[in-house]
Symmetry: C2
Subunit: 191 residues, 2 copies
DNA sequence: GTCTATAAGATGATAGAC
DNA sequence: GTCTATCATCTTATAGAC
């Protein structure tokens, strides 16, 4: 897909995406300017428009980068033996980044909220962040023999997202920790 | 507190806050310009600065307006006889506005996320939105004789917030509905 | 006390240089 | 193909008119 002959070999495009991902996570979609993003990526200011036609197109790349992270995570979790172990490992993933979550929120949740404020184009893209997560969880619950696997999956992700939000609001990692632990016990009770 | 002799009798200030609350809910904190807010409030554009020193001060008024809504809601719920009825009525409150939540998210949750992107000043104000809600819920759970009332309260609000987020992401009121109903059954099981 | 014309600065985007 | 000087626009904020 990526033709190294026509792509910049020095990866400026990738650096722009990386710094956009970072700045959008810290400051939201609206606040970071293209100049700030370019500076953080060590790319000349006006140069951004060679790699992206509009700012929205750069944001689109940020969304895809986050979606790819989700895919990677699920791929890693699939190596675990039992569905219960996979689900618990998923929940614990947020715990692993508890400090980050308490400081800036869940990268998926906050991005979704901000995208919803935008026009039709980007607004619906947030589905791409959560659908794989929920579908994957549903598969695990079903493999565990759960009747309403879909609702269980939504319960899991809802709670994690809500806990991440409150954890950030109160800058308190314990809120996230206690909810994740409760979810682990709940998953065990279903196994 | 409000001196009608020095305040504009035609309520322009209140109209500005009202339209700011609306626009911030729809488009976030950053996107709406003072001109848009003024137009929506039927107030001359540059006139905003007579009522508010800066845009942040207007946003501050938006936060206080939302916080007042929370206080009002809790006051209404207090009229119910049992703590379980009060808690269930709280959860059902989000259900009442399910269409709004599915379209734009929870007014409290989305505002909190956006405030977190701002500087120190406004960033921490989101506590004022959720602390009363959680403290009040904790009181109800304790009155029900629950041991860890604090964690129960956090479970309740976390789940509602997460469900509101996913409900908005997928524009699906059913996600919110099924989670609220599950919470109602849970509260009943504790009573 | 109430409001408006205007400034000062920044932002996304483009035309065209190298 | 890669990059930069510059534009048109918009946004917050203010000085000062009524």
């Amino acid at each position: 897909m990526t033709d190294s002959a026509t792509e910049a070999a020095d990866g400026k495009r990738d650096r722009l995406i990386a710094s956009a991902v970072e700045l959008v996570y810290r400051d939201g979609v609206e606040r970071p300017t293209l100049v700030q993003i370019a500076e953080a990526a060590d790319v000349p200011p006006g140069n951004v428009y060679y790699y992206f036609r509009t700012k929205d197109e750069l944001i689109q790349a940020v969304i895809e980068s986050r979606a790819a992270q989700v895919t990677d995570l699920l791929g890693t979790l699939d190596r675990r033996r039992t569905p219960a172990a996979r689900l618990k490992a998923l929940a614990r993933n947020w715990l692993e980044f508890r400090d980050m979550v308490a400081a800036q929120g869940c990268p998926l949740g906050t991005l979704s909220v901000e995208l919803n404020d935008h026009g039709e184009d980007l607004g619906r893209q947030s589905e791409k962040l959560f659908a794989p997560l929920i579908d994957w969880s549903e598969d695990q619950f079903r493999e565990m023999g759960c009747r309403n696997a879909r609702e269980q999956a939504l319960t899991l992700i809802s709670t994690v997202q809500g806990a991440a939000l409150l954890s950030c609001v109160f800058s308190d990692t314990e809120i996230l920790a206690s909810q994740v632990h409760r979810l682990e016990r709940w998953i065990d009770s279903l196994a």
